[in-house]
Structure formats: structure tokens, C-alpha cells
Amino acid sequence: MSTPAKEFRLLRYVDALREAVAQEMERDPRVFVFGLDVDDHKGIQGSTLGLREKFGAERVFNTPLSEDAMTGVAIGAAMAGLRPIHVHIRMDFLLLCMNQLVNIAAKAHYMYGGAARVPLVVRSIIGKSWGQGAQHSQGLHAMFMHVPGLKVVAPSNAYDAKGCLIAAIRDDNPVIFVEHRLLYPTEAYVPQGLFTVDFGRARVCRKGDDITLVGVSNMVMECLRAQELLAEAGVHAEVIDPISLAPLDIDTILESANRTGRLLVVDNAWTNCGASAEIVARVSESPRALRGIQTARLGFAPTTCPPSPLLEQEFYPNPVKIAAKVYEMVRPGEARWAPDAERAVLAYQLQFRGPF
């Protein structure tokens, strides 16, 4: 007989987020949700809709446009024993929170000798397309990976979104929770009940022997499409989703790269000092790494994100670019190959309509 937690059904990413929060709020009266627009009629692109009606204005409430102080308020409430979820409709706004997150949230447990805890979840959404442009598109997760004391997770599907969010709420540390806007309508089979996806454990999404392909956040989806197109060309990529970036499960990636001899990391961010740099560096410097693993990275072009569509296409990695890069790495002597661009377009990109 299956337990309720095992009763799977198709669920959208956005609904998985909302369900995780609702079920945790039901379970634990210390959990509360706040942030700009969490209780309005749009409910953070739907991810917080209905929570205020269910749990009341004391546990789900809007804030002034004061990200710096609101982050401090969240930290203070967390130190006092509550479990805040602070929501930001774009990750770019986290730059206004950096002082509190880096100087206090990350360090409190350490610099107060274990006397304080900051069980805080910071939800942040990365935008893409429909002209999100310079300041609604940034994947800043590497900035947080840099700092000891913070955890960073970037679930790529509805199952992990729910399991990671529940794990983040129950974690006694500050967790930067990275969501991608385009993933919101994507569906996966998700248990109805409460479950957690543990941080620091990567998932092998597809098996393959020719190359190890690591995707971050929505780039997992793009890597999976590239993998399918590559398979038609006879190249078999292993696709790995790290799920959590801090802690990072380098062992699973290393084991795979040792077997395939090739590693391509695709990040939804710039490559310079980014998550992709970190993953490649940790594989390279591991004493267990076999000699001669070929490594490469793809990410945002080293420019500001443009809103204009043709420039934007150049800016982002996509399944065509990923597949072409893989092919070049696996078959270096051969003529270059790229899949049919029409077949590489992802449904989630086509479905997305603005304005936001």
C-alpha cells in the first residue's frame, strides 16, 4: 500500500512551490511568507496565490520596497525562532540584500560561536525572454556559492522544486532558493505528501558514455533536449543535475567525468568565476580525477543581457549550442555538426508570454 507521500501526479513547477509552502505552513506554525507582492492578486507569478486566504495576513504579508531592512527583519525573526520565507520576484533584487545575507545570515552561526541560527529561505526568480533585459535576467547564484554559511539550490523540475523547498524550510541555515521563470509551467510527477530532496546529492538524469553534461537550473532542460538530438547523431551524453550548488555533490560529477573522459558544464549564468568554473575546478583538482579529462563550459555571453530577441538568442546557451559543443568535443576530427534549430526549440520557451 502506498503512503500519501508516494502518490504521484503531474504538477506544474509553480504549483509544486506553492504546495510545498502550504504543506509546511500547515505542519509548522513558525513558517511565514513575506516579500513584495506575495499577497496580491498575481501572487508572485502564481507561486503564493491563495496562501494569505488560507493562513492569514499575519503569516503571509506584503512588505515595503525595503529589501535591505526586510532581509534583516527576516534574519532577526529567524534568530528568534520563526522560519521566514522571503520572496523576491527577480533574483536581481537580491543585490539589495547582499549586506544582510553575506555579513549576517551567512556568518551569524559561526561568528556567534554556534549561539545563533538563521533558518531562512530566500526565494528568488530568474527571468528570461520577453525583454527581461539587463536587470530581470541575472543568475547570481555563484555570488552566494562563494560565501561559507549559505546554501544554494536551483531545482530544475517540479519534483525537486517541492522537495528542495521543503528541505530548505526545514534547514537551520540560510538557503538561497533559485527558481527559473520559464520552468514555472513545466510539469513533473510529484508526490502529494511531504517529502524532501536532500541537498548535496546530484541526480544522473540520463545515462551516457561519451560525455558528462552538467546543467544548472533551467539549463538541465536544455541539456536534456541536446542529449536527445545528440543521440540521433550517435553521441551519448550523460546528463547530471547538481540540484544543489552549495553543498555541491562533486563526487557524482567526477565519477561520471572519469568514465566519459569529457565534461561540459552549462550554467544559466556567466561563466567567469561562476558555478561552471567551480565545478570544472573541483573536478580538475580532485586527486581522484583521471588524467586528461577534457573540460569546457557554456553560459551567458560575457555581456549584459539584451532585451532584443536576436541579440538575446546570441546571449543564452541553448540546445543547439550545447549539442554542437558536445559534438565538437566528442568528435574533434570531424566536420562540425549542429542539430536542426527548429527541433531544438523547447516548449517552455514557446509557451512563455509576457508581460512578466
Binding site: 535591505d68 555579513n103 549561539a115
Partner: protein, 313 residues
């Protein structure tokens, strides 16, 4: 009101810090110390109006508030020495004193950062509904940070039980108010948020205590939200370190004299029986001697201790 208790705290803070300054050249304290000498009346006056379960938040010049709220002296000195027996187990230092049992939130070296954290703590206390309040201490420099105004607004909006206490010593490190404030009307600025604000210009510990007690009584009763106190005060020593710096050129010793003349420990002490005062003085000296012994005898954290407390749980 217990004058002996007020005197004891004033005197304790002064003597502890004088002892820190005395021992500092030995290099046993490898921690940047920001002494409260001269500013004791503000934290003592406010903390005397608090219940033991009320909460105090203080910035990096926090020795005064820590001791005024009843922080453990042994653990404080051990923390300055970097010992495992310190209040932050040697991971914080002078600028990050914490006392969970005494409800003292951890200090911060980044000016203004503790203010919204105090407000968040007050949010939790409001939810608890036990009438608890937070006294948030900070300096005049912190009121120039945007987060100060963000915090005032949020606290007022939600009627949170916070007493904001600005210890205005007229200098941010070495820069005087004239180079930093377009006007001196800090209390007026705060009142525009609907927060009652009072200014104390003479450092009178009993007046500070009285104003704090009034504000706290009204908060506990749920009659009002946050309140604000601006207390003029004076830092007698250099910004950081044990010495004086009146020859550095940025301020004149003439500024110090009126503050020395109305120094609150002797003023309050004069109202006690001489024998009681002598007894308190002796107790303070022996507590200080014991605290430095405690610090000396504590173990340093070492080796793999480095990796403790990066993550909780």
C-alpha cells in the same frame, strides 16, 4: 528604581574597559576594541528599564550594552582573548559579543546592520504576545544608512515593540556631524514616521531611564508601537583602541570637559551610602580580576575547530 544597581553598572562598564585598555598593550587581546568609556549612561539607563527577558541589540561599540543587560563578564573577556570559553567561543571577538541567556543579540561590525535584525526580533516578540520588547542601540553614523529609515518605517507600520536608541557621540570614526548631516533634527526626521522621539542632551542616566521606561510601558501595554531616543553622549577614548586621541587634530579636549564634569557614575555614587558604594566598588574589582583570570586560563580553539559552526545542524 535601584540607584545601587545603576551605579554598579555604570562603574562596572567603566572599570572593565579601563582594565581592557590597561592590558591592551600586552597584546593578549588581539581584537579591535571600541570602548564605551564615557557613553555608559545610555545603555545603563535604558537597560535598567528592561525586564530580564527583554532583548538588547548592540553594534560593534557594544561592551556597554552587553554589560548593562547583564552579559556574562567572564565570557566577554574570554571572547576578547579569543578563547573557547568566550561568549562566541572565540569566533566573534569584541565586535560580536552575544549573550543568548541574557537575551543579548549578537553585535555587528557593519554600521546599521543590527537595526533591522532587532526589528525582526521584535516581530517575533509581537507574535509571542508576552509583552517583550527590544532595545536597539546604534550610533549617530547608523542613522545615515538607508536601512535605518527602512527599519523605522516597517517597525512603525507594524507597531512593533522596539525602542530605538541612538547614542549620538557626534563622530563617525573621526568625521564630525557637521560634515555628515544636512540638519541636526534627527528626532524630527524620526517623528515623520509616526514614532515618538525624545532627545536627551546631558547624558543624565535617570532621565534616560525615565524616558525609556515610559516608552516601554506603553509598548508593553500595546498602546503604542516603536519609540525613539536620541541621547547625546561622548566617546572619551579613540574610535578603536585603548588610548586617547585629542592630539590627532579632529577634535579638541575642551569638548570632553563638560562630559567629565557630569560623569554619571560619581553623580549617582554620591547618592549612595559611602559604605555601600565601597562594597560595590570592591565587588566590581574582584569580578574584573576573576574575569581576566578566567580569560587567561581558557583554552584557545585550534586546528579542526576552525570548521565548527560554518553550518548549523
Amino acid at each position: 528604581m535601584d540607584l545601587a544597581s545603576i551605579y554598579r553598572k555604570l562603574r562596572l562598564i567603566r572599570r572593565v574597559e579601563e582594565e581592557i585598555a590597561r592590558i591592551y598593550p600586552s597584546d593578549k587581546i588581539k581584537s579591535p576594541v571600541h570602548l564605551s568609556i564615557g557613553q555608559e549612561a545610555v545603555s545603563v539607563g535604558v537597560c535598567d528599564a528592561l525586564r530580564p527577558d527583554d532583548v538588547v541589540s548592540a553594534p560593534y561599540r557594544g561592551h556597554g550594552a552587553y554589560l548593562a543587560k547583564g552579559g556574562d563578564l567572564n565570557a566577554m573577556i574570554a571572547e576578547l582573548y579569543g578563547k573557547e570559553t568566550g561568549c562566541a567561543r572565540g569566533r566573534g571577538g569584541s565586535m560580536h559579543l552575544i549573550g543568548i541567556e541574557q537575551h543579548i543579540l549578537g553585535g555587528s561590525a557593519v554600521v546599521g546592520t543590527t537595526i533591522p535584525i532587532a526589528v525582526g526580533y521584535a516581530l517575533a516578540l509581537q507574535r509571542e504576545g508576552q509583552g517583550g520588547v527590544v532595545a536597539a542601540f546604534f550610533g549617530d553614523g547608523a542613522t545615515e544608512e538607508g536601512v535605518f529609515y527602512e527599519s523605522l518605517n516597517f517597525a512603525a507600520l507594524h507597531k512593533l515593540p522596539v525602542l530605538f536608541v541612538c547614542e549620538n557621540n557626534f563622530y563617525a570614526i573621526h568625521t564630525p556631524l557637521e560634515k555628515r548631516w544636512s540638519t541636526r533634527q534627527l528626532c524630527e526626521r524620526v517623528r515623520t514616521y509616526g514614532i515618538p522621539a525624545h532627545l536627551v542632551t546631558d547624558g543624565d542616566v535617570l532621565r534616560i531611564r525615565h524616558l525609556a521606561a515610559e516608552a516601554i510601558r506603553s509598548m508593553r501595554a500595546g498602546e503604542s508601537g516603536p519609540a525613539f531616543l536620541e541621547c547625546h553622549t561622548y566617546r572619551w577614548r579613540e574610535h578603536v583602541g585603548p588610548g586617547e586621541d585629542y592630539d590627532a587634530g579632529y577634535r579638541d579636549r575642551d569638548e570632553l570637559r563638560p562630559w567629565q564634569e557630569r560623569d554619571q557614575a560619581p553623580v549617582i555614587g554620591a547618592r549612595l551610602e559611602p559604605s555601600e558604594r565601597a562594597r560595590l566598588d570592591a565587588e566590581i574589582e574582584s569580578a574584573i580580576a576573576a574575569a581576566f583570570d578566567f580569560a587567561e586560563n581558557g583554552k584557545f580553539p585550534e586546528g579542526d575547530d576552525l570548521f565548527q559552526h560554518v553550518y548549523a545542524g
